[in-house]
């Protein structure tokens, strides 16, 4: 099995996967506790608009994916807290579908064929470059630092935002910040598992961690370790069976999730 890691693309893939596992372990727990799994899904799909724009302009699609996903995070977060009579799930639906639509139109307007479009939808960890690894590492460091600085604030936000507000905690800004961190995480994960599968990697490791630990930090550590195992196992399985890596990683994670749920029942 060692020989498959002699290829540079395999080493990049593993490195990117391990860093992404750290990111998912940290931010995924907050996604679960704040019940923002589907906001995260909406943010991921809106990012496709940015991918399309990148193709159209002939620039790096991920750069525009960052703009679109952050805009979606702020948009969904702000619209649902106004008096515009738009509930959160309605806002998610609107952003989700219009982001995808924009992406499809931009891609159709672009000259020529978009060869790796499929990679952005379903992920291709084997196509991760050295530059991508650096981008993933940079974003992960920023997010881990922000979480470390705001650990007690995020705990209050997740547990009891009403009380936090009464204590003078800037609950609204903090929630938007959390959504922006989710948006950045989503962009990191697009390269690895793709837009459509992103929410699985954000939720499954944390969900399993929660079944086996009572403390927030313990859950994060379990999630990170599980994430690394899923990426590694999925990568190896997909290599030998010659099947898509992103989907294999997710199905590996899902299999463990169902087994863990059956055991903890």
């Amino acid at each position: 099995m060692i020989e498959i890691f002699q290829y540079e693309f395999m080493r990049n893939a593993l490195m990117a996967g391990a860093i992404a596992a750290v990111l998912c372990g940290v931010i995924g727990v907050y996604v679960i506790l704040n019940r923002i799994v589907f906001i995260s899904g909406g943010i991921a799909h809106t990012a496709f608009g940015g991918i399309g724009l990148g193709y159209f302009l002939g620039r790096d699609p991920l750069l525009f994916a960052v703009l679109f996903s952050v805009a979606a995070a702020l948009g969904i977060g702000m619209i649902s807290s106004t008096r515009a009579r738009v509930s959160e799930d309605t806002a998610i639906g609107v952003f989700w579908a219009s982001g995808m639509s924009l992406g499809i139109i931009f891609v159709s307007l672009s000259r020529g064929y978009a060869p790796d479009l499929f990679d952005y939808l379903f992920g291709n960890i084997l196509a991760v470059s050295q530059t991508d690894v650096e981008l993933i590492l940079g974003l992960t460091l920023v997010i881990v630092l922000v979480v470390a600085l705001l650990y007690k604030e995020l705990m209050i936000l997740s547990f009891d935002p009403t009380y936090g507000e009464a204590m003078g905690l800037p609950v609204r800004s903090l929630r938007l910040l959390l959504l922006c961190m989710v948006a950045l995480s989503v962009v990191v994960l697009i390269k690895i598992v793709g837009i459509i599968l992103v929410i699985a990697l954000l939720t499954i490791p944390g969900a399993i961690g929660r079944q086996h630990a009572d403390g927030l930090k313990e859950i994060m550590i379990i999630s990170i370790l599980l994430g690394i195992v899923f990426v590694f196992a999925g990568l190896v399985i997909s290599y030998y069976l010659n099947i898509p890596s992103g989907a294999t990683i997710i199905l590996t994670a899902a299999a463990v999730f169902f087994a863990s749920t059956a055991v903890t029942r």
């Binding site: 705990m155 009891d160 009403t162 507000e165 009464a166 204590m167 929660r210 403390g215």
Partner: protein, 250 residues
């Protein structure tokens, strides 16, 4: 002087609807004020105005000699019991520590002094031996004690309690109210409740809120006030407390 809360000519509305109408209220140092009234009558709104979470449309609110926003750090607050996630991964100690946020502010970590204060607050509520237990493992009454400890941990001069006895079974309520009575030896308490009999037994002043506020600066419940507040006849049951003045039933 000794006035902890002074509300003058307070009006609060939500859209077209008037929630509080020309409310006047004075809470003195070491009062234990019970605020009763029907659901939707504006009890919680009044507490939120005192905390500065809701801005009045008209009138003035002074708390601890300053504005509600400035006084907030010196107030301990127990919000209405919310249906929080019972499997939330946190301990009693961590929950109580949240109450130190107002003193610490953004970014900084809890110090050992904060931890000691949290343990002391749990101690006061008789929960110190369970500090490291997961919050979901406690009964409803124990959880309310932990949340009162969270309100106490900032060493407040004023405690605002919104339906503190919710989720506590009848057997534990007496003990719980007696604990509040002990806290009242040092701290001014304003407690919102819908339980008239419990309130009248343990508090020393009562106000009725239903849009307007009816208040007599004593714990003597006046049937007319209660009927005015609830807009329906109320049966009043005395508990054998000699000094309470109740209107005789026909």
């Amino acid at each position: 002087m000794n006035s902890v809360v002074t509300v003058k000519n307070l009006w609060v509305g939500l859209g077209e609807q008037v929630i509080l109408e020309d409310v006047n209220l004075k809470v003195q140092k070491r009062d234990f004020l019970g605020i009763i009234g029907p659901n939707g009558g504006g009890k919680t709104t009044l507490l939120k105005v005192i905390l500065g979470l809701i801005k009045p449309d008209q009138g003035s609110v002074r708390v601890l000699g300053t504005t509600p926003e400035n006084a907030r750090k010196r107030i301990g607050y127990l919000p209405q019991r919310s249906l929080f996630d019972q499997s939330f991964p946190t301990t009693a100690l961590q929950v109580v520590l949240m109450g130190r946020y107002g003193r610490i502010g953004l970014f900084r970590r809890y110090s050992s002094g904060d931890r000691q204060a949290a343990l002391d607050a749990l101690e006061k509520m008789g929960m110190a031996s369970y500090a490291q237990r997961a919050i979901g493992a406690f009964s409803g009454g124990e959880q309310q004690r932990i949340f009162v400890a969270r309100a106490l941990v900032s060493e407040p001069e004023l405690l605002l309690l919104d339906e503190p006895a919710a989720g506590i079974d009848a057997a534990q309520q007496k003990e719980f109210y007696e604990l509040l009575g002990e806290l009242n030896e040092k701290i001014t308490i304003v407690m919102v409740s819908h339980d008239i009999s419990a309130v009248s037994r343990y508090v020393d002043k009562i106000a009725c809120v239903n849009q307007k506020l009816y208040y007599h600066d004593s714990k003597e419940l006046v049937a007319e006030d209660i009927e005015e507040a609830y807009r329906c006849p109320v049966d009043m049951i005395a508990h054998g407390v000699p000094h309470r003045v109740l209107r005789e039933h026909d």
